[in-house]
Subunit: 406 residues, 2 copies
Amino acid sequence: MIPTLPAHSDFSLQNLPWGIFSVAGNDPRVGVAYGDHIIDMSVVAELGLFDFDVSVFYEDHLNPFISLGKEVTDAARSRVQELLQEEQGLLARHPEVFVARKAARMHLPVRIGDYTDFYSSIEHATNVGKMFRDPENALLPNWKHLPVGYHGRASSIVVSGTDITRPRGQVKPNHYPTPQFEPTSKLDFELEMAFVIGKDSTLGEPIATGDADDYIFGLALFNDWSARDIQKWEYVPLGPFLGKNFASTISPWIVPLAALEPFRTPGPTQDPEVLDYLKYTGNGNFDLKLEVTLTTSAGVSKTISRSNFKYMYWNMAQQLAHHTSNGCNVRVGDVMASGTISGKDETSYGSLLEISEGGRSPLAMPDGTERTFVEDGDTIVLRGYGVKDGLRVGFGEASGRVLPAR
Amino acid sequence: MIPTLPAHSDFSLQNLPWGIFSVAGNDPRVGVAYGDHIIDMSVVAELGLFDFDVSVFYEDHLNPFISLGKEVTDAARSRVQELLQEEQGLLARHPEVFVARKAARMHLPVRIGDYTDFYSSIEHATNVGKMFRDPENALLPNWKHLPVGYHGRASSIVVSGTDITRPRGQVKPNHYPTPQFEPTSKLDFELEMAFVIGKDSTLGEPIATGDADDYIFGLALFNDWSARDIQKWEYVPLGPFLGKNFASTISPWIVPLAALEPFRTPGPTQDPEVLDYLKYTGNGNFDLKLEVTLTTSAGVSKTISRSNFKYMYWNMAQQLAHHTSNGCNVRVGDVMASGTISGKDETSYGSLLEISEGGRSPLAMPDGTERTFVEDGDTIVLRGYGVKDGLRVGFGEASGRVLPAR
C-alpha cells in the first residue's frame, strides 16, 4: 500500500525532492521524500524501472545521480510520480520501498565542491549598509549593477540537525583598546535559499542567463551562520572569512527546479537597466514563503521572521551568468546561496542583526527573555514552501542548535 | 641503471616531490620527480616495497595517498630515497620505473576541496594599501593582528602549462560614466606559494600553531591571476570574486614539508605582539628564492621579479591556526596560498600592479616594448628553490600563457 499523504505536507506528489538518508544498520543512500516517508531509491532501483546505471542510488551523495543530467533525473522523478498514483501499482506491491522519515537519519545531500554566497536582497543590503556604513548611501555604487557575491567555505556546510558550536575569534569592539580572542557575543543566523549546480560547465565558457536553468538542479534552505563581531573586525579589505566559515546549515532535501515551476513570479524592476549579459526575460523569481523560528533551551518558541524568496533583486539565472561571465567554471554539487533574504519591515528581516537593529532593539521572547543575538541552547529553524491552487511544495527545515563555545 | 641527476636540478635526492602524470596511452597516476625523470610509483608499487594499499598510486589525484598520513608518506619518500642511492639495487634493476619528464603530461596534483588565499606579505599589503587606499595608513588596523585571508575558487585552479583566457568582466574606470562589460585591460599575475593540507581536522576543533606541521603535506608555486579592473569595481564590501576566480595556476609537483626543513629560517619580529593562539616558537619561515619571468609571444624573456618566501610576515602555521581558530575544519587536498610575496623594492615585487606602480611606471622589455599589465601571448613563469650547503630543492615551475578574450 502506498502511504497516505498528510494534509499540508511539504513533500507532496508535486515535490519529490532528493536526499541522502540512512536507517540503523544501513549505509547512506538516495531517497525521495513523500509525506512522512522516504522512498528508498536503492530498493526502487532493484525493481528494474530505470534504464540508467542505478548504482548512483547506492552512493552517499547525490552528485553521481545529478551528473546523469536533467533529462534523466527529471524523467526518474516523473516515473516515481506516476507510480505513486497507481494504487495497485508496483510501489503499492512493494511496501519495503517506503521508510518512515522519523526513523531515518539525513546526511549532507551533495558533495560540495565550491560554495558561493551572494548578497542579492536589496532590503538586506540596504539595512546592513545603513548600520555599518553610511545611512545616506547604504548601497555601494556597484550593487545595482552586478549581483555582489563572494566565495565561502564548503568544508563546514552541515546538514540540518547538526549542532553548531559557538565560535571563538578575534574581536575588537570600539571599547577594547586591542583585539581579544573570545567566544563571539554576536552570533547570528542568515535566512537564505541555496541552489545546487546540476551540470559541469567548461572553464572559459560563460553561462547565459537563458541557459542557467539547465545548470540548476534544485534548491534548499540555507542558514549562513555569522559571528558579527568577528566579521566586523576581519572583513576589510578582503571580505568575510572566520565570521562565516565556522558553519552553514543546509536542509537535507534538494527540491528539483521542475517542482518549483508553479511558483515562478516576476522579479522587481531593475533600475538602472542591467548590462546585456545580466538581462533576463521571463519570471525569474519564485514565490516561496520563508520563516524563521527561534526556540530556547526551555522549549519556548517564536517565529521571528516571515520573508519570501520573491523579494530577491537579483535572480538565480543572473547570479549564475555573472559568476561565470569571466569564464569561471561550475561543477555538479557546487552550492550558491542567495544571501540573506529580507523583506520590507522588521517582521520579514532575515537576520537578528536587522531584527534587533544591531542589538539596539532587543527581540522579546514569550518567556519574557530578550534576544539581540543567538544564545547558547537556542535552536534556529528555517522553513520554506510554496502554495498555489491547492498545491504545496516545501523544503522541510534547516535546523541548528547552538552549543556553548568549547 | 638509475638516471644521472643533472647538476642544479630542482628535483634532487633531497626533494622527491609528488605529482600526477601520464604518458601517451596511459591513465594518470602518481609519480615522484627525480632529475629529468619521473619515478612511476604504480610500477614501483608492483615491486612489493610497501606494506600499505598501493592502489593509491593508480589514482589520478594525490588525496588517497596523502590520506594515508605523514608517517606513511614520509616513510615512502625515505624508501625511494634509499633505493635511489643503491647503484645495483632494486630500482637500478627495474629501469621501467623511470619515465622521461619531457615525455609526460602533468595533471592537477590534488583534488582541491577548498582554496583559501591569504594576504600575508607586509610589503605587498603596504604597496597595495598605498595605491588603493591611504598612503599614510596603508595597512588596515587588523593587518598586524591576524593573517587576513579570504576564500577563493577551487574549480578554476589549473596545473602549470594550462593556457589562461583573458577574462571579460564588469569594469568602471573613473572616466566611464557607467560600468561596461569588456575584456580586462589590467590582467596581472601574483607570485605566491601554496601549501596542501595533509590531514583532515574536525569541525569545531582548532589546530594549534605547534601542531600545524602535521596538517601541511607539502608546498607548491601558485599564480593567483588577477584582473585588477574587475577586482576594483566588485570588491566592496565582500572581497575579490570575479577579479580572481577565472583561473589560478599551481605547479605540478608538491614538495613535501620534510624536504624543506633545511631551509627553515626565523620570521620577522611581529610587533605588536600577537595573541596567544597565533604565537609561534621556532623557525616558521622558509628561505626559498622565487622568481618571475615574462616571455612575449615572440620569445623575448625577462626576469621581472626576484623575491623570497622568507619575507612572509605571517607563517603557514599561523595561517592555519587562525583559519581553524573558530572551529573551521580543513580536509586533505585543501590548498592555502600565501598571498603575493613581495620584497623591499621593485626588483622583488610579486605583481605587475606593484612593479608598474599601477600602470604609471611601465616595465621595459628587452625588445623595446613596455608592460604595465600582462598582454595577450605573454607567458608568466614562476620558479622557486632553496639552496644550502650544496643542497638544492626546487619547485619546477608554474607557467601560464595568456590567450586573447573569446
